[in-house]
Structures are given as structure tokens and as C-alpha cells.
């Protein structure tokens, strides 16, 4: 019997020793260091941070997580937050922090690097990159003549059983918010009800695009970059789907922005502003184009990844990220209909 328990005894003692080591071992870096809370896709951030570190010699500690979780941590941490910069996939979470007074003003030259409609109205966060809401469709199930010109058509009975979307994704509420703004709350609710009746619900956009590609759903509501990423993973030969852009100005044709902000609690304000400036600099924006994240850089004159429809050719609905607010009205509507 002793032969059997020995491995466990050894494991137990070894881990006790490890624990002791863990408790005492925390290293600190020399030189300037920033802490970046990263809610953006890690891929994009890794490329940006590497370029920034090379460019400035400032070390960046990256804490990657779900943006809502990071935002909650920032709110809990308050004035003692270790975070200097917060970089997110969506703006509602930045608006939430702005409303709570946790963001420092972004330096005017950084704000000026991208079109002002993609920045915070108050100047508390800057837009970094963008993606556009599109319809992905399975090319063997839907012909291009059947495609809707407006996202509002997807609530019609003829789409029954054909649609897939992810009601709990952060990319979905902005669509509801936009429809509320342009067509009113009643229309938005009717639309959402119809869409719900027509659709299969998926946990996230990654699943939506994969399921449309598989033919599980005929069409799906996503942002364009999920399709490009799936193509990068599977290879063009395995793609049985394509992207459809809604008509110009349609509420479905929405630009979602990824943004960044400096925390007002940061004790490295100057360096933090440098990081923000770098994100929207030509070099930073090109790093985004080359990172295979398939997002649109927002700085004018920087080309997106090859294969993307040029940003200037997009004819989105005139809705700014700031107008999207924190999205609580859209959430309430989803909750009312039992989508969340």
C-alpha cells in the first residue's frame, strides 16, 4: 500500500514547496512599464504591443480577458487600479466607465488622428479600429437575388428557420439600439420578435459564421471579420458562404468600433497617452491591418487587410459609437422578449 500512496505524498510535498515559492516570487521590471487591460482580440493586441515596445522601449504588461470582466475589475479597483490603458472590442463598455468618471481625457492630437465621429463625444476614449455588420449567407442555400436589402426584412415569415444569430453577443445590441433610434422602439420590438421566431440562437458570432458555413442556418447576423477569420482558419476551399452588405444607410449596415482609453487613476499618464497615440499612428494602424484580425484601421489613408471591401465603399447608417451609449435599452428589450 505504501508504494501506492507515495506518488501522492511526493506531489503533496512538492506542491507545498511550489506554493511557498509562488508566494514569495514576484518579479518587477526595470524601466518604464505600462499595464494594459485588453478586451480586444489577443491577436490584434499582441501585434500592436510588440510594435509599441520596439518603438518606445516602454514595457507593456498585457492582461487579456473578457471586456466586461475587465471593466468590472476597473470599477472595483477604483482609484487603485493597476490598469493604465483599457483597450476594448466595443465602445459601450468604455461609455459605461466614462459615465462613472473613470477615464482621463485623451490628448487632442490622438483624437484628431481618426475621424471624430468614431471618438467619444467628450474626448474620453479614441476609436482605434472598426468592423461592419453584415449578413453571412450559405451560397448553396441562398442565391444572391434572394438576399434582403434591409436587416428589417429578416423578421418576415419567409425567413422562418433560416436565420442564425447570437443574442448575447456584444455585437448584437448595437443593431437593436440603431433600429430603436431610426425606426422607434415599437418597430424594434416587432422586428426582434419576428427575428426570434425565424432564428436559431447561437452562443457567439464564431458559432454563427461556422454554422452558416456548414449549412445549419442559411443566413447569419455577424460582423464581417468573423467570416474572414474562419476563412483564414479553414482555407478558402472550405468556405461555403459569402458576405452580403445591406443597402446604403440601412440600420443593419452598422459600423462597430473598437476603442481605447487612459484610466484617470493611472500614475503613468504620459506613457499611457503615448500608447494611445501609437494605437492610432500610421505604424500602429498598419500593425492592425497586418495582424490578420481583419478589422478596418480607422486612420485615413491606411489600407485594411487585402480582400476586405474598402472602408470608403461602405455606406453605413449614420450612427456614431457615442450614440450607441451603454446599450442598456437594447438589453432591456432582449430581456423582455426572453432572448437573454
Amino acid at each position: 500500500m505504501s508504494a501506492v500512496k507515495r506518488p501522492f505524498l511526493i506531489a503533496f510535498l512538492a506542491s507545498a514547496a511550489l506554493l511557498a515559492l509562488t508566494a514569495c516570487g514576484s518579479s518587477s521590471h526595470a524601466g518604464a512599464t505600462l499595464t494594459l487591460y485588453n478586451g480586444q482580440h489577443e491577436q490584434t493586441t499582441a501585434a500592436l504591443v510588440a510594435a509599441f515596445e520596439k518603438h518606445t522601449g516602454i514595457t507593456v504588461n498585457v492582461r487579456t480577458g473578457d471586456e466586461a470582466e475587465l471593466a468590472d475589475e476597473i470599477m472595483q479597483e477604483g482609484s487603485s487600479s493597476p490598469a493604465d490603458v483599457f483597450y476594448t472590442e466595443n465602445t459601450p463598455v468604455l461609455e459605461e466607465l466614462r459615465e462613472k468618471g473613470l477615464l482621463a481625457p485623451v490628448s487632442p492630437s490622438t483624437l484628431a488622428a481618426v475621424p471624430s465621429r468614431y471618438d467619444s463625444v467628450q474626448g474620453d476614449w479614441v476609436g482605434v479600429s472598426a468592423r461592419v455588420s453584415v449578413l453571412v449567407y450559405n451560397t448553396s442555400q441562398i442565391s444572391s437575388s434572394q438576399l434582403p436589402s434591409s436587416i428589417l426584412e429578416l423578421s418576415e415569415p419567409k425567413w422562418k428557420g433560416k436565420v442564425g444569430f447570437a443574442p448575447s453577443e456584444t455585437d448584437f445590441q448595437p443593431l437593436i439600439t440603431t433600429i430603436i433610434k431610426f425606426d422607434g422602439l415599437a418597430t424594434a420590438e416587432r422586428w426582434l420578435k419576428g427575428l426570434q421566431a425565424n432564428s436559431k440562437l447561437y452562443p457567439d458570432n464564431e458559432t454563427v459564421v461556422a454554422q452558416v458555413n456548414n449549412g445549419e442556418s442559411a443566413v447569419g447576423l455577424i460582423n464581417h471579420y468573423y467570416w474572414f477569420r474562419l476563412r483564414a482558419e479553414l482555407g478558402a476551399g472550405a468556405m461555403h458562404s459569402a458576405l452580403h452588405y445591406y443597402a446604403a444607410g440601412d440600420p443593419g449596415d452598422l459600423i462597430d468600433v473598437s476603442g481605447a482609453a487612459v484610466l484617470s487613476s493611472s500614475s503613468h499618464q504620459a506613457d499611457a497617452q503615448k500608447l494611445l497615440a501609437f494605437l492610432v499612428s500610421r505604424e500602429g494602424q498598419e500593425a492592425i491591418s497586418h495582424s490578420h484580425s481583419y478589422e478596418y484601421p480607422l486612420r485615413p489613408g491606411v489600407a485594411p487587410a487585402p480582400g476586405l471591401r474598402p472602408f470608403a465603399q461602405l455606406k453605413p447608417v449614420p450612427m456614431t459609437p457615442a450614440e450607441l451609449g451603454n446599450g442598456h435599452q437594447a438589453l432591456a428589450l432582449e430581456q423582455k422578449l426572453g432572448l437573454l
Partner: protein, 530 residues
Amino acid sequence: MSTFASTAPLASRWTRAWSGRRRWPLVSAIGAAIAAVLVLLPLVFLVVEAQQSGWGEVRHLLLRHSVAVLLWNTVRLALACTALCAVLGVAGAWCVERTMLPARHLWAVALVLPLGVPDFVVGFGWVSIDPALHGYLAAVMIMTLSLYPLVYLPVAASLARIDAGLEEAARSLGLGPWQTFWRVTLRQVRPAVLGGCLLVTLALLAEYGAFEIVQYRTFTVEIFTEFKLGFDAAAACSLSLVLVVLSIAALGGELALGGRGRGWRAGSGTRRSAPRVALGRWSAPVLAGLAAVAGLALGVPVGSLVYWMARGSSTTLPSASILGALAHTAEFSAAAAAIATALAVPVSALAIRHRNRVTVLIERLAYLPMALPGLVIALGLVAFSVRYAFALYQSSLELIVAYAILFLPLAVVGVRSAMAQAPAQLEEVGRSLGYRPTTVWRRVTLPLIAPGLGAAFALVFISAATELTATLLLHPTGVNTLATQFWAYTSELSYGAAAPYAALMVGISAVPAYLLSRRMSTLAQSERTR
């Protein structure tokens, strides 16, 4: 804090127990107190957080019509899954421990291994095979296949130690083999079955990853949604209070059903192991059944990982970190397993050797965190450490303690069963021979419960190595674990790059799972040959 008034009898009992003639060993009392404080810490901050949104808002959240749906979804899933896990766990354990099953050592390992496959990998594997898979039945199937080892393990251990005498007596009194099984064998292992079922129910209440993938909405899924979309920690915490109530119901239910019964023996002689049953013409169907369970529970997720790895990856993320992630995962999990096991010893020792209301309450308390999603426990710890222990905030130590709290129930189950089976008389003999309590502990108790400690360590290690949601919130900045890296890659759609991380998670969990099953079978053998 009007609850203080109602704890007054407990407090007096506490002092009575302390000053009474059965004095608790001081070390045990301190250890159990630490365990109780650690368990209560996140729970207290949960209530504090929930209160922040105001009770009116809490009431509004809890009385929404969708809450009824969530409650129904959660309860019907818990009932079906727990029942199925009980059947699968008992049947599997009986086949391995009580029949002349061919290659049973192999089966003993294969049936435990699914425990080492993280829930999100299981869900991911199934959905890769059948994208249409979602809803109630999918959730029941996936969770049954990943949780039944929690019943299998204690029942197999218990079956291996059953005394032959009772069954023989039953047979000699005219009961048939089936009747003997139902009325004697099953009754003997009932505490093990119920203990396992309790763990299954609690784990189901807290499950998130798999349900998110198969689109099945339980309370925990709702808590995540509320938190991630509404940025509303307070709402998430209020909804978690429902989970606390549900888990208290499960804990009470297990007590009421007699989960704390003890085994009986015929006569006072040395325990004799029961003989194994020849399977005969049942061999083929039993083997097919076991192969199906192992194949579905293990083959599907592992198969999909192999498929994704073979497809290759297209990620542009730096890939150097895999060894670092492995080292961190092993380090954090092992440390957490050591702490949880160490805490489980006093909790179990007091609950068994000094059974009274306080010690049983502490033991029951230790189960609560398992029913709460890792996210919620982590939120509680964040709230605590930000305010009162900022040095701990985002430290490895805090993450390790979080794991220890989350998986303390698994450690308690392992230690408790060993402690219950170690005869107290032996310790008394030791003391009567004039040994000091510490010597008795070292030379008598420890060797007796060592297998239980091993089981506790292994169970906690496996669970911690695959934990994701608390890890995302608490990990030290810049430190990745296998689970967080897997998550990062899959959220990039880089399944090929994600798969090796999941495979390593399964790999490092397989080691303790293997040792766990080996330990049990060797133990049973040594008893048999004794």
C-alpha cells in the same frame, strides 16, 4: 445581522464542544475555522455586492418571468443528469469492482478519465461532430458523460471494500441475486452514491461552458449574460443567491436521504471482500456498454482535438507560451490541491470524530462554493481583496486560494470517506499505549487516510487544471494558463492553435486520474489478499 440571534444556540454548542470532555484537537479546530472563513468570504461579499443594486432591483431581477424558465431549466436538468449519473456510475463501478470483467484495470482508468476533460472541450467536441446539437437533451447527455465519474469514483471505492458477509447472509436467507443487489449491496453503497450525486448536482448548478455551447439556459448562464452584457456585477450576484438556495436544498436532500449512513458488517471478524461475478453471456453487452460510455465521454472530445490539431493552425499569435502555460497550470493546480486537501482534513476529522451541529455545519458549508460559478466566487474575492488586501489582488496566491475554495468539496469528499472508514478504535489504542496525539496522528491516522488524501489531491488538481472563468478574472497580469490560452485561441476561431492546449489539459489531468484509479484497484486487491 439578525441572523446572529439564530446562531446563538450554535455558538453555545460550540463552546460546549470546546470545553466539553471531548475536546477538539486545537489544530483541527483552527484548520476548520480557516476553511469556514475562506468559504464564507466570497459568500459574504456576494451578498454585499448583490445589496449594492438595492433590494428593489434584486426583487425585480428575481421576479422576471424568465426566471421561472431558468429555474425550471436548471431543476429539470439537475434531476435528469443526477439520476443518469447515478445509474451510469453505479453500473460502471459494479462492473469494474464486482465482476470478472476482462481488462478491468484498463476500464478502471478509462471510466475516470472523462473527469480530466474540461467542460468547454466536451461541448466543443460534440458541437464539432453535430452542429445541430443543442437544448435540453444535448445538455443532459453532455453533462452526464462528463460528470458520472463523480459517482463512479466513490461507489467503486465503496464497492471494493464491501464485506462479503452481508451478501452471503442475504443469499442464504433466500434472496435472489437481483434482490441481494437491490436490498443489500446497493444499500451498503448508498452513502457513496448519494455523496457522488450531491457533487454532480452542485457541479451542474455551477456549469457554464458546456451550456453556453449547446445553448441551454440555466441560472448560471443567465448570470454570465447579465454580467457580460449589462456590466452588472450586482445583478449577477443577486441571481447567484438563487444558486445558494438551490445548493442548500441539494445538501439538505442528501442528508435527508441518508447520505451520511454508515456501512454495516456481518460479525466482528476481519473484513472479507465479496467474490466477483462471472459475466458469462453478458460479457459482450457489458463490454459494449462500457466501450460506448468511454467512447462517447472520452473519444468525442479527444477525437475532435486530434482532428483540429491534424488540420493545422493558421494563427499569428506567438506560440512560445505553451510550456509556460503548462507550468503555471501545474503549479497553481498542485498548490490549490495541497491547500484544499490540507483544509479538508480538519473539516472531515471534526465532522466524523467530533460530530455535532457546528462541525456538521462547517462540513456542509464547505460544499457551497461548488454550486457557485467560478465567476461569482472570483467576483467576491476581487471585491474583498481590492478593499482589504490589495497586496493579494491579482497575485498567484489569490488564484490558488480561489481554486482551493471552489474545489474544497471534492477534497472533503475524498478525505471524508477515508476518515469514515478508518476505525477510531485504532487511534484510541494508540493513545492508550501512551503515544502523544501528534504521534498517533502521524503513525496511525495519516497512514489510514493517506489514500483519501491522494484522492482529494487528484480530484482538486484535475478540476483546477481545467478551470476557466475564475482564472480569467483572477490570474496575475501576463500569466497564462492552459485554459486561458485555449479560450484566447478559440475566441479567435483558431481551433488548430487552441487544440494543443486542450490536449495538454487532458494530458496533465490524466496522470492524477490514472493514479486515482490505480490506487483504488490496488487498495481493493490488497484488502482482498489480506
